[in-house]
Symmetry: C2
Subunit: 131 residues, 2 copies
């Protein structure tokens, strides 16, 4: 499983004016990984509740392994709840928790920023790369 057991340096504590700058780093690391935001946002768009295969279809390109891993991490963090139905064939549903939902708002802020500014970022990059 994913855990950052390395208690090391830093912290730029004053920087975040936060009591726990590591919390910020860990949070950013999580939603910064390849699939987490897409899974969260997809689950939200699907009404806050969906089964594995629905998410698989909602997030094109994700492999079963990564969807499984991502959901397991989200469950461990308390962002989603996993519910197993003892049927054949098996059915498993994932539901957003209030905690997970509450993360949606700040996340949306970044999504909006990207929508508004990413074109400019790309342009700047191109210019930079010219030399």
């Amino acid at each position: 499983m994913k855990k950052s057991s390395k208690v090391i340096p830093l912290d730029a504590a004053a920087i975040c004016r936060s009591s726990d700058p590591m919390a910020v780093r860990e949070l950013l690391t999580k939603i910064g990984d390849k699939w987490t935001i897409f899974v969260i946002l997809s689950l939200d768009l699907l009404g806050g509740r969906a089964r594995f295969s629905e998410l698989e279809r909602a997030v094109p390109g994700i492999s079963q392994r990564m969807l499984s891993t991502t959901l397991k991490n989200l469950e461990r963090d308390g962002m989603v709840i996993r519910e197993v139905f003892p049927e054949v064939p098996p059915r498993v549903e994932y539901e957003m928790t209030d905690l997970g939902t509450s993360l949606l708002r700040p996340t949306q802020g970044l999504v909006d920023w990207a929508k508004a500014n990413w074109e400019q970022v790309r342009a700047t990059q191109s210019k930079y790369d010219l030399r």
Copy 2:
């Protein structure tokens, strides 16, 4: 708008209701790396302008290599401007751009969320790990 040169994965397009979900992923990947937010926030706290060594001290634990790399990426993205003063010993100052500053607001949203909720996340993780 959409290119088919790379028929790859993505995009959970509807998900983000964004024209470019890759922008979101790239942005998250950037600020999700190990040092970027700390450098950005530090630079802001230092008044939006600082030299290399100041940032080095403001972000405890960062290596010269990573600070250099991070700043170069930020410069490439147009978040900071690098100014070299032809002196001996050399002096280099980094200044936040408006673009970089504008990113601060949504970022702060995540910082606040982490401050408010991370304790709960850790508690949930501990419970999860017990079984």
